[in-house]
Symmetry: C2
Subunit: 642 residues, 2 copies
């Protein structure tokens, strides 16, 4: 009873904290959009950049700071109710905090993703209806919905997603630590080690952020991307001594773990290696993502050149780039998993996730920076400011596109580590309940293999739903825009003083996002429940593994393909290659087609797969006892246990 209430309370705390952070982030982003534009006009790159960067920093530090504060306070409150020997029960209740965060992320990522891209794709397609309407033109009724969407999807959605990973990885690490007698006996500090890592990460990020704003400020256009990247590198390496300090201060020299792979004696240096591997691995994934999605490098330029033979080759090369961009990140993830799993079993995997999210404050700063600049450009366009202002905001925004892809790389990587840790916690729980019967997850048994295959299909099913939602909602948007132009032909006139009806477009996006979220949401929630209820826990094991394996690949390839198309378009429109003709050329039009296709891939379907992986795993963990209660884990159909 008390466990249920405490889980519920942590669920609420998690959900509310995530919402508050999203609200703060969006509010600040909205305030800062116009300021960024103004600073780009009156002052220069440095001030424009700093404004957008600081707006992102509010989001980054508010989210991580509030997240860890509420989490720690909840922990301390609960700990007063239990003896240290019962801490393992108490920490189980904390997994509700992660579920709360992930549930809000479901709305933010999936709903927000549909919202933003319905508006964005819709606004892009309007060019087909009204020729020569520039991007972000105030005459386009869908423009405001597009701008709102950038905040909803890219600020609040991304934040909620990463908040979920942050909360879940910390909770998973704590749950396992509390189940390990040696760590429990070593005291509160040893158990709290993951929280200490996260907290010191925030301090490190705060100190490092002065580097970008004061010590090495951005002065010219070509410095923007490198400044943002350097922030990531700086914070990653600055984390290492902090991790070392935290481990030597709080962790015992060695501790015994009764892991899911084997019983083992883990060491303090092993734990340090787990956190550091996650942290460095995340950085490498980020850098590789930048390589594949920034027009500073060959892959995106190759896509731009493919536009010379039309939209079809643009799409073919883009898809190929997305597939290729999986190679290195997956090798890195596999290495992190191997190293951390081998040295500290599942505790290591969750520590690696904590490490990867250690510099989350900086990661989020950079992420939220993107949409602020995007909207700053929109405001420059709509208020008909001089052309140079738009050029400055575009340059800020191009870097933002790349960093958004980098952020997605982090988000996917950490989501996969988190879901593995949660999945492992689920298996451990069932194993302990069943006295070891369900401890082995064998690939080559009929039930597991069948559900491995079904699980691998789920990300495709989910993506089919989200992609089509965007397409349908965008089509609705186009119809509405057409209607408004047919009703008021005056709107076609560039000098028309009348404003289109923005509200109806916003309403279409809002309603579409809420309506279209139901099917994918139900899929994620119901799949493990149905599998567990009817086919037993082996089916859930297979389902989670399959979804994780194919979800990672699909998410990485979708995000990077979309990011690359977006920047290939910017490479042409920016006139960086004379032979491509610049904005308005035939090649540019081919690039716009790629960009439009990439929108739902990179901002709706791709990142939503993080939610799929995490939510399925944490749902299973929360319902573990229920699954085991049905015919001892064999499900209603009493599947044979081999």
């Amino acid at each position: 009873m008390r466990i249920g209430v405490l889980t519920m309370i942590s669920f609420l705390f998690g959900a509310i904290t995530s919402m508050v952070c999203g609200y703060i982030g969006m509010t600040v982003a909205v305030y800062s959009n116009a300021r960024t534009t103004v600073n780009c006009m009156r002052e220069g790159f440095k001030e424009g950049f700093n404004t957008a960067f600081r707006a992102g920093a509010v989001m980054g530090f508010a989210l991580t700071g509030l997240g860890i504060f509420v989490f720690y306070v909840t922990m301390c409150g609960y700990s007063s109710l239990y003896e240290p020997a019962e801490w393992n029960i108490m920490f189980d209740c904390l997994s509700g905090y992660g579920l709360g965060g992930s549930s809000i992320a479901m709305f933010g990522r999936v709903g927000g993703g549909i919202y933003t891209k319905a508006a964005d794709v819709g606004a892009d397609l309007v060019g087909k209806v009204i020729e020569d309407l520039p991007e972000d033109s105030p005459r386009n009724p869908a423009t405001i919905a597009d701008n709102v969407g950038d905040n909803v999807g890219d600020v609040a959605g991304m934040g909620a997603d990463l908040f979920g990973s942050f909360a879940e990885s910390t909770a998973a690490a704590l749950v396992i630590a509390a189940q390990t007698p040696d760590l429990r006996n070593a005291g509160w500090g040893a158990v709290c080690f993951p929280v200490v890592v996260s907290a010191s990460g925030i301090l490190v990020c705060m100190i490092c952020s002065f580097w970008a704003t004061h010590i090495r400020p951005v002065t010219t256009e070509d410095k923007i991307e490198s400044t943002l990247r350097n922030q990531l590198i700086l914070t990653t390496f600055a984390m290492c001594p902090a991790i070392y300090w935290a481990a030597t201060t709080y962790l015992p020299e060695t501790f015994h773990m009764d892991g899911v792979a084997k019983s083992m004696t883990a060491t303090r240096s092993g734990a340090i290696m787990c956190v550091v591997s996650g942290s460095i691995g995340g950085l490498i994934i980020g850098v590789v993502t930048e390589y594949y999605t920034s027009f500073g490098y060959e892959p995106v330029r190759e896509i731009s050149r493919a536009c010379k033979t039309g939209a079809a080759t643009n799409i073919i090369y883009g898809l190929s780039l997305g597939y290729r961009s999986c190679i290195v990140p997956v090798f890195i993830l596999a290495t992190i998993i191997y190293v951390s799993f081998e040295s500290c079993d599942l505790y290591g995997v969750s520590l690696a996730a904590v490490g990867m999210l250690g510099n989350l404050a900086t990661g989020l700063t950079i992420d939220a920076y993107g949409p602020v600049c995007d909207n700053a450009g929109g405001i420059a366009e709509m208020s008909e400011l001089p052309h140079e202002v738009r050029e400055k905001t575009d340059a800020l925004d191009a870097a933002g596109n790349t960093t958004a892809a980098v952020g997605k790389g982090f988000a996917i990587g950490s989501a996969s580590l988190v879901s593995l840790a949660l999945y492992g916690a689920f298996v451990t729980r069932i194993r302990d309940s069943s006295g070891g019967v369900f401890g082995n997850v064998q690939i080559l048994t009929p039930l597991v293999f069948a559900f491995l295959l079904i699980g691998s299909m789920l990300p495709y099913w989910f993506s089919a739903l989200t992609m089509k939602s965007v397409g349908d909602a965008a089509a609705q948007m186009v119809v509405e825009v057409k209607r408004q132009f047919d009703l008021n032909p005056e709107l076609r006139n560039p000098d028309c003083a009348m404003r289109p009806d923005y509200d109806r477009c916003i309403k279409i996006s809002t309603e579409a996002s809420l309506r279209e979220m139901i099917a994918p949401g139900a899929l994620v929630m119901l799949a493990p429940l149905i599998a567990g209820t009817f086919f037993g826990v082996y089916a859930v094991y297979g389902l989670l593994t399959g979804a994780l394996l194919s979800g990672v690949q699909l998410a990485i390839s979708m995000s990077n393909t979309g990011g690359a198309w977006d920047n290939a378009k910017k490479y042409i429109s920016g006139g960086y290659d004379e032979s491509l003709g610049g904005k308005g050329s035939e090649f540019y039009k081919a690039a716009v087609i790629g960009d439009t296709v990439g929108d739902p891939l990179k901002d709706t379907s791709g990142p939503s797969l993080n939610i799929l992986m995490k939510l399925m795993a944490i749902m299973s963990l929360v319902f573990a006892d229920y699954f085991y209660a049905i015919n001892n884990g064999q499900g209603i159909l009493r599947m044979p246990v081999d």
Copy 2:
């Protein structure tokens, strides 16, 4: 020593048989192209259809007939060298037959796929260079390469792929049967049961083919697709009594199996269920594929309508359709695997594959029918026959596009069953060599999980290579076409008597296909070898499972997306929906972009993944003893065995 020689001999027999079948199929297809055109002109639908259908039937029956004949003769020859108690050793040598077939399939599917789509995409893109050049125009230098490619990729490539599956599934079933003492003791007939099923399937298909050509001939356009589909349905159901007869005649009532999942007593009715589930399951996959790729149904029509808002929505809806089209086939595959695995362990899985390929003769007939009609249309265009002839061949071809997608569905389904059976045979072999140490493949161990992730990435890596190969080769083709038009501007004139230099375009395709095949081929061959050599057999287990899981999904979605785009274009150009404007409209141009993107997806990358799955599995099986020899299966790096 003798084992090595016999394996080599069966490898050669497999490779040579596959090549001979491909040669026969291509020769007959080339002969029949023009005859189909002539019959469409002089006689009517019925005669045109029958010519193309019979040309396909030559391929279908030659391949299956020769395949089973050579296989059986080899078996009988080998059996004279061994006592029945040693049959298990002898049949191991027969797995070389499958490897031979699959190696040729590597050339046919991957090389042939690059060949055909380099020419096809190149020819399509020429429209960007020379405006208003109709499809298959003799003035286009790439036209002949395109026509040759249809034969290389779609006749020989598809044939070699399915021949490989056919040989491998039969070989896998025989290997397991020969390892089962109860079946060996029941005599030659019991061991040969899978061969009997395949052989009776050929007879059933032959009898049923009279239905299409004589009893219910095609008279009108709308009957084409249903006639082809009815052939599949008819042969599937006619197989059932044949399977029942074969099982009751040859199989013992019950037999004990020492399976990889568990030791069990299998029954004759269980074995019948395995074969029938494969056969019926294949049919359902085929019908679902037809639903998603034929313009007779809503999904493709929806894509056609999406062209109204441009190429971008066309692509978005198409990708979404491909993802969605995985759902039912994967559920069917999972069910087949569960049922057959549970009732006869891996023997059941290989029997299900044999069952799915039971009516292969008909499946191949329908597959080879497509490119014959495609080329018949090309010939009609080039010889400037009346417009009505082209319309007739186009109608025949549209049905061929759908049946090609259906054939790919079969090919993917059977490839996944075959690779599971081969993978299981590999695990069994290593388990027996190691005395049970490597018998369990646990998901939640560091090494296996890391390689599961890497394995799932391989299909993406592989597809990235093949997609880009097509893009690059097509770009080369465009350059060549441009060069020819610049050299002889006269070619632009529709009445120009001069012929372009077709040979150079053919040479580009040929060279590109051979050169670009190296990288993906090396990836498939080397991945299991490197994993096994350095990281041991657990790594290979993970690698094969991951590649199988994500390969199936990617292959299905790619094939169906491409097929749907192709038919969405045909739906518009055929004028079936007046609001879409027909050939030459803006909407048609948007559909052409989708079709061009779909070309490498459906004919190169997608089906090549079958080869990836099968070849990796059979490579591992062939090298099983080598892997185990390196530090007892721990690899050079002596990975810890948990």
